[in-house]
Structure formats: structure tokens, C-alpha cells
């Protein structure tokens, strides 16, 4: 009987399974298990993982942390908006905020050094998208995410916002220098 009609055998669950199907189910299952194992494997042996470190925060509290870092480590100012360029020491906590419609401040990091990058939003949801590396994470107000980053190439990087955040979304960019 075709798929439009009730099964020919009333007790269809006792029919034997076609051997091709059994074979395929078995290899598909093995493949699913391999794909599962890859994720914990990469947590142990891979170098690109998100940390599980995150905190609840508020926009006031997070804004203060960012400002404290800016006050301490600003080395110069750039752009028409006089945006501070922050050069924190290796291993430091680095705070970056997203708001309508900018990433603040400019960061200056050193190649092959590790930093604790904190990310949060001052208003709506934003998307941290580091170009041309193409590293992308979600930035959510009220949540402070910490990622240990180790830039492995020097150069000038742009942070693009890739979570829609209103009419100025496409002009929301930021800068990270890696020396």
C-alpha cells in the first residue's frame, strides 16, 4: 500500500526492517556520535572555545567598570569623537561595551598575549563580530560575558555589529589594534 493509505500489515511494527535501512541507520548513528564527541574533544584539545564565565550585571555597574579601565589605561585619543585608545597590560581584564551605535573604547592589544575580554551592552542586544577574523558572539544587556582572547596575528581589526539594533545598526563599528 502506498504512503497515502493505512499500512497493509496491521501489525506493521513486527515487519522486518529493510537491510539497507538498518545499515544506514547504523552509520548515521555512528556519525552523530562522532559529531557529539568533537565538541568536548575541542574543549580539551582545541584553542577556540567560549568560556562559561558570565555574570549578571547592570548597565550602571558595567559602565563604571569600563570607565575605570579607560581612566587607568588610556594612551591616546582617536577619531572625531575623541574616543580613548586603551592599552591594558597582558593578562588584564579588558572591558568593551556595545551601545547605540558604537563599540567603546578602542582597544590596543599585543600579539600572542592573553587578555580577559568582558562584553556587555548598555541598551539593546548587539552582535560582536570581529573582522576579518570572523569571530561572532551575542552581546546581551544585563549579562557580562568574559572570554580569554589570544590574538595570534597583528593588525587593525574592526568590530562590526551583527545583531540588528535599530536604524543606526549598520554604522555601529569599533576598533581593536593588535601590535
Amino acid at each position: 500500500m502506498s504512503s497515502l493509505l493505512p499500512p497493509a500489515e496491521r501489525i506493521w511494527w513486527k515487519e522486518p526492517i529493510e537491510s539497507v535501512e538498518l545499515f544506514w541507520v547504523a552509520i548515521a548513528l555512528v556519525w552523530a556520535i562522532v559529531m557529539f564527541i568533537m565538541m568536548p574533544y575541542w574543549h580539551v584539545y582545541g584553542k577556540q572555545n567560549l568560556s562559561n564565565e558570565a555574570y549578571r550585571t547592570s548597565t550602571e555597574l558595567y559602565g563604571k567598570k569600563v570607565q575605570a579601565m579607560v581612566d587607568q589605561y588610556t594612551v591616546r585619543k582617536e577619531t572625531a569623537r575623541d574616543m580613548p585608545v586603551v592599552h591594558p597590560p597582558a593578562g588584564a581584564d579588558v572591558y568593551l561595551l556595545g551601545r547605540l551605535w558604537e563599540w567603546y573604547p578602542i582597544l590596543e592589544l599585543e600579539k600572542d598575549k592573553t587578555y580577559r575580554l568582558h562584553l556587555s551592552s548598555m541598551d539593546w542586544q548587539h552582535g560582536f563580530s570581529l573582522q576579518p577574523e570572523n569571530i561572532n558572539v551575542q552581546v546581551i544587556p544585563g549579562y557580562e560575558m568574559v572570554i580569554k582572547i589570544t590574538p595570534n596575528k597583528s593588525g587593525e581589526y574592526t568590530i562590526v555589529c551583527n545583531e540588528y539594533c535599530g536604524i543606526g545598526h549598520h554604522a555601529m563599528t569599533g576598533r581593536i589594534y593588535v601590535k
Binding site: S2, S3, L4, P6, P7, A8, W12, W13, P16, I17, E18, S19, V20, E21, W24, A28, A32, M35, F36, M38, M39, H43, G46, K47, Q48, L50, N52, A80, T114, L119, D123, W124, Q125, Q131, P132, E133, N134, N136, V137, Q138, I140, G142, Y143, E144, M145, I147, K148, I149, P151, T158, V160, C161, E163, Y164, C165, G166, H169, A171, T173, G174
Partner: protein, 564 residues
Amino acid sequence: MANTAEFRTCPDTGLLFHKPAETLMKLNAVAGIVFLLVGGVIGLLMILTRWPTVHLLQADMFYMLLTAHGVGVLIFWIIFFEIAVLYFASSTLLRSRLATPRWAWLGFALMVIGSITTMVAIFQGRSSVMMTSYVPMSAEPHFYLGLILFAVGALIGCFVFLGTLVIARAERTYGEGSIPLVTFGALTACIIAIFTIASGAIILIPTFLWKIGIINYIDPLMYRIIWWGMGHSSQQINVSAHIAVWYLIAGVVFGAKPLSEKVSRMAFLLYILFLQLASAHHLLGDPGLSSEWKIFNTSYAMYLAVLASMIHGLTVPGSIEAAQRKRGFNKGLFEWLRKAPWGNPTFSGMFLSLIIFGFLGGITGVVMGTEQLNLIMHNTLYVPGHFHATVVGGTTLAFMALTYWLVPVLFQRDVVLPGLAKWQPYLFGFGMIGFTLFMMGAGTLGVPRRHWDISFANALFQYQYPEVAYLMLGLMAISGILAIVGGGLFVLQIVASVLVGRRRGEVKSAIPIIAEPVAAGVHGIGIGGISVPGTLVLALVFLTTFILYYFVNWKYLSQVWGLA
């Protein structure tokens, strides 16, 4: 048994249509196609704006229409059509009266009112929040209200479907056995739909109350978790529904029977058990959710659902191969496929849908849903590239293919310009293949989704995407326009057929539009004891592609900055 005057027997297929159900199927399908038309026209404008060379619309118009595009096709087109499929799979296939037609009418009315309300809210211009409407960004209250009304209407449709199953069972309209596989698939879609709508209610009702000032805070992360319980599960309704449609078309065109009922039904069951939590893969780049949670949900839940899709990927073409071989096309590996009716849009559309959904939509979805790989794809154009392959190349094309068959059967009209219909699935299908591939290509180069200006003309910091990204966007646009032409052709042809197509009489037409079911069993077909060797080869090609592409992406990931 209901009054027999309320039934009509289709002279060609022998299907029994309950007239109130038939009317509702037609109305739901037509409402769906209206939204497909609206969404398609807006889709063209989206393409012409994201093609940097043209960059047609202004930013505010672009974001408003992108919201309308997502809501209009991803929710309204698909769900209206799915309600029609649910009524067909219950009332028609089970030869039963539809349960409570008045409630079904109420459901339809709510869906129409709700969809129009939300569309009006969007076109008023102050609800350009994208389909996801992530808080704390907010839309006008009637944006949410319309969606809620639509969901209530769809929920009523689901319960009418379930009620019809109960009636058919009680009145023994389809004999003593189990429901047909196609109806089983539709039941899967219905169960997932109920879960989906419940998730939607849990998040959209509070968001509506928040917007009108009754609730003062919606946690944005909680919003994302529950919203995706709706947002992704709704795509699983599509998967279940269009796979049911694949089986339906295999049955209609080839008289195919499943290789074994047990395997196909188990695969549908896996969807119910494991798809819902799979929505975690939207949250892989979010703070505050642990890696254990992400891995557990994206693998335990998703891979067993992926397993189910891989099973259907074998059993659907396998059932076609077996039927063809039994009809005498038993030579070599692929005679069954070469001698398939490639000029019949119902078949060609279905088969292209299967290929696009599997190779382009399926593989990329799994890759993107891998915890770490998500880092190099999250919110780039890769994401819409993936889901256009699943929802447009997969679901929409399958529904188009079915519609070509439904015009004579349900609307009792001949399709006008049948010569054009032969080409439509290829135009649309190959257009979508190019569109999704180039879109994903641009995404891997970091081009963001939902973005009006990747030249960053008014931004404080400039960034120049590589030239090849611009090339990809141009090719994406050209392929997309081909697909739009194919989609436009479909809408024109269906509307013209329904309005002015030649009426079919009550006599059977010369050309059969449903195949006789083939005999049961797979004895005496195939090569060397393998009953469906051609399908097995195709499946192994698929698996090889999958494995290679999966590990290529790990290679890409290993080259970016160290993250821990």
C-alpha cells in the same frame, strides 16, 4: 457517519473530500499563497538592497520590509499552507468528516485577522524589530497581539486536526489499522506545532503585557531561550510537514510504499522527542549558558533529530527507487532515477526539495549548530543562507510541487500553460541553490545578516570586506532574482489556474494523476541483494560531503584567535 451529500469523490484519484474541509483547505492554501506573493516581492527588494551595486532601498525601509519579509513568509505563508495540509492529511486521506468545521472557520478567521494586524503594525513603520523582536527593543503592541491571535487560530486548526483523527477512528472511516504514513507525518507536525505555539504564547503574551506597561521587565536572555522554543520549533513543523509531503508525492507519482513503516515512523517520532530542545543552537554564542548545557542540547537533541532526517533522506528516495524498480526500471544503479518523470513539476519540485534540504540546508544547519563552529558563523549571512535552503529550497519548493498536484484534485481545474510548469521547479530550485550557496559564502567571509550597508559609509571606523565577498553578494543577487522569477511564475500560474483554468468534469481524465500503488515487498529488485542500491550510493555521497564539509570548518576555526 455524516450526511453523504457533504462529500465529493475525486473522479481521478478516488479521494473523498468532505466539502467543508475542502473549502477550508482551499482558503488556507490561498491565504498562504497570498503571503508567499507578498513575501516574494519583498524578497526581491531585499536582494536588490543587499546587492551592493544596486543598494535600492533606504535603511528604514529596508529594516521595515525585512521584518515584513520574515514574518510574512516564515510564519504566515508556511503555517496557512500547513493548516491546509493538516486538513488534507486528516479529513481527505482518512475519508472522514472534518471535526467541528465552525471551530475551523474561527481558527481561520483568527489567523487572517492576526496576520493582517501584525502586517499593518509592521507597515506603520514603528515595529521594525525583525521577526525575532529581541527585547529590550520593542514593537508596537499590535505587532505582538496579531501574532498571538494568529497563534491561537493555528492552535484551533491543530485541535481540529486531532479531533478529525478521533472521529475517523471512532467511525472506522479508514478501516481497522493504523493511520497512513503521510497522516502520521502530519500528526508529528501537529504535535510539534502545539509545543511551538505554547512556547510562543509563553513569551509573546508577557512581551505584549510589557509593551503596554503591565510587566516592567523581560529578561533578554530568557526571552531568547523561550522565543527560540517557538522560532526554531516552528521550522520543525515545516520539516515534518514537508517530509510528509515528500512521502505523499512519492505515493502519488509512483505509488511508492515506504521500505518499512517502522523505520519511517520511528524517524518521525524522533522529531517529536528530540527537536524542541534543538533550538539551543541559536544560543551557542550567548553568555550565561554553560558549555555543558549547550553541548547537551545541541547534540542529544539535535543529532537524534538529524539522524531522523538522514533516515528520511534514505527512505523517501528509497521508496521511489523500489517502486520504479518494481515497475520494470530495474537496470543498473540509476535507471529508476533517469526514467523518473522529470517534466512533472510535482516530482521534479519534490526531488529538488529533497536535494536542497539535505545537501544545503541540512549539512550547514548541523555545522552551524556545533558549539565551537558557531563562533565563525553566528549572525553572519551564513545563517539566512542556511535557512533559505531549508525553508525555501526545502519546504516552499515541496509545497509548490504539491500545489501543482492539488490544482486538478482539490480545485478541479487544469493547470494553465503546463509547458511552463515543467520549468518552474528548475528555475526556482536552481535559483535557490545559487542564492543560498553564495549567501553562505559571503557569510563565511564575515558579512553580517540584517545589515543595510556593509560599506559602512557613515560609520566611525571603516572596514573593507574582501572583493570576493562583493562578488558573492552579486552572484547571490542574480541567483536570487532567478528564484524570484520562478516563484512569481508559480504564483501567477496557480492563481490563473484556479481562476480561469479549464474546469475538470466529474469524469476521469485520460492522463492518470495518481499512480496505482505498487505491490508490497522488495523481492527480486536491486543489485546483489541490495534492494535500493542507487539510493544507497546517493546517501553515501551525502555522508561523504557532510563529513568533509564538517571537518573543513574545524580547520577554519583552528586558525582564528585563541579563545577560552
